[in-house]
Point group: C2
Chain length 451, copies 2
């Protein structure tokens, strides 16, 4: 019998998160205060985040225990399955073995609840009654809406307008869980009003939506802000993915030559990659770790490595990262979760140190890959996930050409059930491609903070 699904027993679910800061050859650059440009202290972050999350952000401990309350909710959908993509392999006629970790099984349909649940938990524990956040494609906003409904916390989501219009079902999903969702730029904040005054047709960006959510939460005693990617603690929460994969690959009797994931802010990539990087850094493994980003928003492959603002209005912390500039307005491609101007400091740092690879792919080939996947493996994938599938297929085709029997593992970060209009546009030939021009990156310099 050819095994296609590796279910890890519930008792094997990770009980701690892995913190790569303990294993970095060089430490991360500190965050800077957006006003003073001096390194941030915990007190600076306290108006926005629960203290436990602030501690996790800078912790140097290798492992941090997952609270039992969080594990209990994780256990509804974790461990998630690992699949061997035998039908895809057959369709590609490749000698490669392709595996995918399947994060679609959470109620929100992606990996995002892995961090939304602990974030809601810690905020609840510290007496917070209300959270604000931004969302691109809606994966994060809906995951936090789910988590807030479980912990009885009020939630307001600023959703990038282009996605708000493209993906109305995501808004309805958030509302079903009891959250309030508005299109960003909105008239509810100074940042939003300023953006709309400058351009009434502003379709929004993650950087701008972050400004709105931060501005909303910061002055309110009862409110905190939550971020679904980029930050160290978010990537750490996601490491349950890679930890499970390590055990599941062992069940399969193989070890990956390559680990592939898409990157926007870096959370699903970090989730699957960091535990394998731990093996590379501490156990002499040589797995290639490949981050795949859209050519329309190529922060890792074309961006500058510099201190930059995390948001448009310059209210979020300044971080050392690969960036296209905080004023970057991405074209309205369908992988809304990959349209952030910057990149997680951890992922940026790893790229700078040469510990991971990065590549950019165009939108049309990602949908072609998504269709190939749907018609062989059955599952319909998020446009973000299609970036990882594209790279995995490309590597499998290389193996067909060279005859190499490589083991490829990629993160299937979420389903595309709320992105069908993108598939419709692709299938009816209405989708176009856009490559961010290299020369434009230079303009990004103009808005970098002076540090």
């Amino acid at each position: 019998m050819d095994t296609i699904k590796y279910n890890l027993p519930e008792k094997e679910m990770p009980t701690r998160w892995y913190n790569i800061q303990a294993d970095l050859p060089e430490p991360l650059a500190p965050y800077l205060h957006p006003a003073t440009k001096k390194p941030l202290g915990p007190a600076d972050l306290a108006p926005l985040f629960a203290m436990e999350l602030i501690k996790q952000e800078v912790s140097q401990e290798r492992y941090i225990d997952i609270p039992e309350e969080v594990q209990k909710i994780y256990r509804q959908f974790r461990p998630s399955p690992l699949y061997r993509a035998r039908r895809l392999e057959a369709a590609l006629d490749t000698p490669a073995h392709i595996y995918y970790k399947f994060e679609d099984v959470s109620p929100a349909g992606s990996h995002k609840p892995n961090s939304a649940i602990p974030q809601a938990y810690y905020n609840k524990k510290e007496g917070i009654k209300r959270l604000t956040t931004e969302t691109g494609a809606g994966q994060w906003g809906s995951s936090l809406a789910l988590a807030c409904s479980l912990f009885d916390i009020e939630l307001k989501v600023y959703m990038v307008k282009v996605s708000y219009q493209q993906k109305p079902y995501r808004r309805m999903m958030m509302e079903t869980w009891g959250a309030k969702c508005v299109a960003s730029p909105s008239m509810d904040t100074n940042s939003g009003r300023a953006a709309l005054a400058a351009d009434p047709n502003n379709m929004g960006s993650l950087g701008l939506a972050i400004s709105e959510a931060v501005e909303d939460a910061a002055p309110r005693e009862d409110s905190h802000y939550a971020l679904g990617s980029v930050l160290n603690h978010v990537l750490m929460h996601q490491t349950v993915i890679g930890q499970e994969c390590l055990k599941q690959m062992e069940m399969a009797g193989e070890y990956p030559d390559m680990v592939i994931a898409c990157v926007g802010g870096g959370s699903n990539f970090g989730g699957i990659a960091l535990p394998f990087l731990h093996e590379n850094l501490t156990k002499g493994k040589k797995t290639r770790i490949i981050a795949v980003e859209p050519s329309s928003c190529p922060s890792l492959t074309k961006g500058l490595y510099a201190y930059d603002y995390g948001d448009v209005a310059g209210m979020a912390p300044i971080a050392k990262m690969f960036t296209l500039g905080s004023n970057f307005m991405p074209p309205p491609v369908h992988a809304g979760g990959l349209r952030y101007h910057g990149m997680s400091p951890i992922v940026s740092h790893l790229k700078k140190l040469g510990l991971i690879e990065a590549r950019a792919v165009l939108q049309l080939p990602t949908f072609e890959a998504g269709i190939t996947f749907a018609r062989s493996e059955g599952f319909i994938s998020a446009p973000e996930t299609n970036h990882a599938i594209r790279a995995a297929i490309d590597e499998a085709i290389k193996c067909r050409e060279t005859g190499e029997k490589k083991v490829i593992l990629f993160n299937h970060s979420g389903h595309g059930h709320f992105d069908m209009s993108a598939y419709d546009a692709y299938l009816s030939g209405k989708l176009t491609d856009y490559e961010y021009p290299a020369e434009k990156v230079k303009e990004a310099l103009s808005c970098l903070p002076q540090t």
Copy 2:
């Protein structure tokens, strides 16, 4: 540790389907030919169905082996999890133990692939190149599109127009898997053209869509027709659900006092109920088996038990069943999968023999139940599934009142990711209720066949 998820090991997945015909105290009434009104023979069905499926339809064998090719595909998403709804129990403050079988995990998001896959398999094996079918909410059409893409069969789906308009994402999903989907009534068949000539605003019905699909397939050598519910072989394919539940309830150390499922044509209900009926019929168990239908289409609770046409045009076999009359045009409620004028002959027969119970529920309370479920268990359910949730919650509330610690099991037949506009309508107060008037049932007599 409070267990919430019961994962059956892969090797425990059922390898045969259960055929309740072997255990019925009285045999089913035979199908009649729509033209001659005489009992049907296999040759009459051959233009529409694969011979293996025709044999299964009338088989008296208790168990029929699941082909290895079908098992291999089942294993991608089966065994499906059984959940203990601890958070819902807490929200309801009930002493009842509520369990739900979770069929959302198939690539199409419902139980429907359990029959779509073997139907595609047997047709492929017999050399069929093309299938036609009808779909209501789109769950069946998309599941057959998935199955046809795996077996490389062409597919044309006639989708009830009201759903085609309400659920555009379902059409896009079918197209992603390579199927062709048209709104029914269509201009592609005589039945469709006649309906549109009589009323250009005809919003369609399952009975009419069946007529179109049958008319399309019958004369073509390369084509067969596939039905997603009602027929004996379809319910039999679904019995993997209940067989798994029996083992999973054993893992949980409990046995259900009640088994609940929604009914339209009867396939998800049959899937979970028939293996428990086998225990009732042969091992002295006394589980109450409850079928839940919409008040807007109450075939089991208000229909006539009579021989009736399976479709509007009178081309499909005549079956002995509870029916509202083949001309029944249901109001456009959102549970599109429950709007069939008739009921599976097996389910009808069981109802007539008093072996199962039936109840009808209004649309608004089903959405209220769906929201309660989403905000406690996290999962967003199909409008059809919300009918089962409503009944389960009602029973759990009764337990709260009486203090009884009953064990309730219901079938969570599918997710609502493509039905968010229905949730939106509910949450914004735009959804209305409709109860089919008892006196109208009498009119149904006028179009019954003279047998």
